[in-house]
């Protein structure tokens, strides 16, 4: 770590160095205090118990339980509670009671260390572009572990309980909740074959060969039996989701390969769990009968399907619960986390596959929960999941490093080298053999390049380590050697493969992931294609993938959605739902980037006016509005403006929570100052008649209500200017008629008062007929659009006279 720090120091990048130093400094009090504390403990306990209890006692994260014990043993000396005051000479004005805060304190320190490390790596791009983060974190772990050891303490070990109960679930939930379902289901067959057959093959191939190696005399391994070897094989054969995620997310490989490797790493959990428990049990048996093997085979189905079943149940319950949360938005995200966690724990309770349960619950609940909860809650869920999972991941890698230093090792060259070699051979053979088989059935074949990446991407990680750590000495005296071998394999895969995979991907020119954001066009095309393929399948009479998917969709729409989704949205077709989501996202993005808007981009925005509706002659007809119409519109605008203002005045925490847009609005208020400056500039543009573009009102209306206004392009995302308050003299109002229908494009010159409020949300004109041109406020007035923009629409009466001033029809 020091080396890294000094590398960063000379340049501008002293910052990461500071972080590292800070992190180290942070650890010092911990070490120090711990040193203070373990001495009395050693004295009070028989020495031979010490290693067992305290082996991991350094940071509280690792061994919460033993610490509790130690605290209870010795509360007296340090307790300065009033009850003990009589022993003291004076009331302690300032006392130290480290034991009181120790566990949370140390946990926080470790997490802080993890976060600072992560932060540090991202500040030094040159390092993280070559070495994957996971490697760096392991190195940090090694250094920290060495440091702790150097101070004379025993560093903590990644305890299996902590790992499986606290560190792993967030990562898996994150993966499951955001699983790219489409690719996953399209490749489910392939993934399952890799996950099940591949893992079995790996386990038995490796276990068998290792047994053969152990039989060679002179290696000193003769006492390791077949079952122990098979157990070892099953532990080490599973590809690890955490490691795969960490590496694959950095190399941006195409979706197909990503989902194949990652899906395999998720689904092989069931196989690993079963094999592990099976061999662990068998190791205690005198004899293994055929019945045992059959039972073991059965238990595979129970474990995997049971896990999925548990997950689905919790997923459905979560979806159902979220149906009723519309009044208490704040706790919505919590339901998602809790139900998922419950699913995981319940599955673990019965030794079912917790990972499968988590994934199943995430996948099942997501579409319904998302339809029910507010946009804000959704963002919260997203952020929390990402945050938790990245912190867990960081901690896992750091502790892998620390545990390596801390654990006892038994290095046997023969065993470890042959493990490593057979691991690689098994993986390669397995992938080649299975793809040969799979390709017979796949329509899109896996190319040799793909096969190489799949084989090469088979990283092992902390799950294997934790499983190995779970073995007990009584039955597996060779645990230390196993652990050493496991760590070696993990390090080899994470360091060597993880570091070289990126250059290899470039070298082989493997297709990368397209970075484009999903656009509304793509969504339309994808849906169109789906229906087309379903249709073609029907026509050629083949009940294929698309046919069943279509059936399932119809069933889902007809029954399931009605039960699980509250209100209107259950009837929403997917396309519209997608559209709403996009429009919200853009609205928020727009506002977030609002203050920084570059004015030119606002001008370059393509608007509906650029689009030629075929029926019209290219030249526009712009009839002036009739007086009546104008009056009517003005009135409506006034009403709505009023409304908006009222809403802002009565703004409170609850409405904020209830309305996904409100945050955006709130921010807009904050940015008003900036916006005002922008407004000035914009007005310069706006006063040029040729630009019918963004008049302030229009811009405002766009943010609030008119989704179409948001261009996906980032540069045009700055429309926000929007935010703008109309302090300035009005820009030309345009009222524009295209077709017979009314499309008023109107600009509202704001009154001073309104200016005070700063915001005009949008205009709503229920009475106006539908319009062709969505871009105009007129369009936003149409009833259908109201629905789209329902978040903003608060019908509110009470016209205020001062606001009525404007509305200048743009006559031609």
């Amino acid at each position: 770590m020091q080396a890294k720090g000094s590398r960063g120091a000379p340049s501008l990048r002293a910052v990461p160095f500071l972080f590292l130093v800070a992190a180290l400094l942070g650890l010092l009090p911990l070490l120090h205090s711990h040193g203070l504390q373990s001495n009395p403990m050693m004295a009070s306990e028989p020495p031979h118990h010490y290693p067992a209890i305290i082996s991991g006692s350094e940071p509280g994260v690792i061994t919460a339980a033993p610490l509790d014990v130690s605290q209870e043993i010795r509360p007296l000396p340090n307790h300065s509670s009033p009850g003990h005051a009589k022993y003291r000479k004076a009331f302690p004005v300032l006392g130290i009671d480290y034991t009181h805060v120790r566990i949370p304190f140390e946990i926080s320190l470790w997490i802080l260390l993890a976060c600072l490390m992560k932060l540090g790596f991202h500040v030094i791009p040159s390092v993280s572009s070559i070495v994957p983060e996971s490697c760096l974190l392991i190195v940090v772990g090694l250094l920290v572990g060495g440091l702790i050891k150097g101070v004379g303490e025993s560093p903590p070990i990644l305890k299996s309980d902590i790992f499986f109960l606290f560190l792993l679930p967030p990562i898996i939930l994150d993966a499951g909740y955001f699983l790219p379902l489409r690719q996953f289901t399209e490749n489910l067959g392939t993934i399952l074959i890799f996950a099940v057959v591949g893992t079995l093959w790996n386990a038995f191939f490796l276990g068998g060969l290792m047994y053969a190696v152990c039989q060679i005399s002179g290696t000193g391994l003769n006492d390791i039996g077949l079952l122990a070897n098979l157990l070892f094989g099953s532990i080490i054969s599973a590809v690890d989701p955490v490691a795969v995620l960490a590496v694959f997310e950095e190399i941006h490989i195409n979706e197909l390969l990503h989902i194949l490797v990652f899906g395999e790493s998720l689904l092989n959990d069931a196989v690993t769990v079963v094999l592990y428990h099976l061999f662990e049990e068998f190791a205690n048996f005198e004899q293994v009968t055929v019945t045992d093997i059959i039972l073991g085979f059965l238990s595979f189905f129970v474990v995997s399907l049971g896990g999925v079943f548990v997950g689905v149940i919790y997923g459905v319950i979560a979806a159902f619960t979220s149906r009723f949360t519309s009044h208490i938005r704040v706790i919505e995200p919590l339901f998602v986390f809790l139900y998922s966690y419950m699913a995981y724990l319940s599955a673990e309770l019965f030794h079912l596959s917790g990972i499968m349960a988590l994934i199943a619950s995430g996948v099942v609940m997501r579409p319904y929960v998302e339809a029910n909860i507010s946009h804000k809650s959704h963002t919260t869920i997203k952020y929390f999941l990402k945050m938790w999972s990245s912190v867990s991941e960081t901690l896992i890698f750091i502790f892998l490093g620390v545990s390596t230093v801390a654990g006892r090792h038994y290095w046997n060259w023969t065993f470890i080298i042959s493990t490593l070699i057979f691991c690689l051979i098994a993986r390669v053979l397995g992938v080649l053999g299975l793809t040969w088989f799979i390709n017979k059935f796949r329509i899109v074949k896996l190319t040799p390049k793909d096969q190489f990446i799949i084989a090469y991407g088979g990283l092992r990680g902390a799950i294997a380590f934790s499983l190995g750590y779970l073995l007990d000495y009584e039955h597996f005296g060779m645990r230390d050697m196993f652990l050493t071998a496991i760590i070696t394999v993990i390090f080899f895969t994470v360091f060597v493969q993880g570091m070289t995979i990126r250059p290899l991907v470039d070298l082989l020119a493997v297709k990368k992931k397209q970075e484009t954001k999903r656009s509304i066009n793509e969504e339309i095309h994808t849906q169109f294609l789906d229906h087309l393929l379903t249709g073609i399948e029907d026509i050629c009479g083949h009940y294929g993938h698309h046919h069943w998917k279509d059936k399932l969709n119809r069933f889902n729409k007809k029954y399931v959605k009605k039960c699980l989704i509250a209100g209107e949205r259950s009837k929403e077709p997917q396309l519209i739902a997608f559209y709403h989501k996009m429009e919200m996202k853009q609205a928020i993005e727009l506002v977030e980037s609002g203050g920084l808007g570059k004015i030119p981009s606002a001008i370059s925005t393509v608007s509906m006016q650029n689009i030629n509706p075929k029926t019209l002659p290219v030249k526009r007809i712009l009839p002036a509005l009739s007086k009546d119409k104008e009056e009517e519109i003005r009135k409506i605008l006034r009403n709505n403006l009023q409304k908006t203002r009222q809403r802002l005045r009565s703004y409170n925490r609850h409405t904020l929570v209830a309305d996904p847009y409100e945050e955006a609005w709130n921010q807009m208020l904050l940015r008003r100052q900036k916006a005002r400056q922008l407004e000035q500039k914009i007005n310069n543009y706006l006063t040029v008649p040729a630009h019918k573009l963004d008049s302030p009102t229009m811009s405002r209306a766009r943010i609030g209500s008119d989704p179409l206004a948001y261009e996906p392009k980032s540069d045009s995302g700055n429309l926000p200017i929007i935010t703008v308050d109309p302090a300035s003299p009005q820009s030309p109002e345009s009222v524009d008629l295209v077709n017979e229908e009314l499309k008023g494009m109107s600009c509202l010159p704001p009154s001073p008062e309104e200016d005070e409020e700063g915001l005009v949300m949008r205009v709503k004109d229920p009475s106006s007929p539908g319009t062709d041109d969505v871009f105009t406020p007129g369009a936003s007035d149409s009833p259908s659009n109201q629905r789209i923009m329902r978040c903003l629409s608060d019908p509110g009466p009470q016209p205020e006279p001062e606001e009525g001033e404007p509305f200048i029809p743009k006559g031609k």
């Binding site: 077709p573 689009i611 969505v774």
Partner: protein
Amino acid sequence: MGSAHSVPEEIQELADKTGFTLEQIEHLHRRFKQISGDQQTIRKESFDRIPDLEFNPIRSKIVHAFFDKRNLRQASDGLAEEINFEDFLTIMSYFRPMEMNMDEEQLDHFRKEKLKFLFHMYDSDNDGKITLQEYRKVVEELLSRNPHLEKESARSIADGAMMEAASICVGQMEPDQVYEGITFEDFLKMWQGIDIDTKMHVRFLNMEPIAHCH
């Protein structure tokens, strides 16, 4: 032509033309006969015999595509009255999966063919552009299965998509500039994000004759 399927050379010829294997052709022919009711040709009404198709929101577009002369590799455009087995195979061949041994050029051609087919489905008046009207129609149809559909939302989605298309394909536009519609080049651009060659295919083998179709 359709009647001559029993002659091996003819089948071989069809296979060469469309890239299907003999086995696939046989399957498809069986299906063709089911749909046509043992006739030589299929007319629009014949598709009514397929019950599953009824629920397809873009049913008319799909059926239309079968009779679109542009898709039938004929010089003229417009609609055919009826199609024979060869035409049927030609349409189906748009949905063949790509082969492992194709080189880049072939792949590119293959991809373009598929996209052309799609483009023709959107571009119903054959002017080489998907205009706003046409796009709206497509979206409306996509949403037409929904009883609560409001035309306006379909419309605004299409409009939004159109604007997006304009901004992707043209970039900056002057206010008085007019985007006529999505040309095939623009269409290609928009499909870049979707891996068409891995998506647009149907498995043709293992088809069981379906009893209720006839």
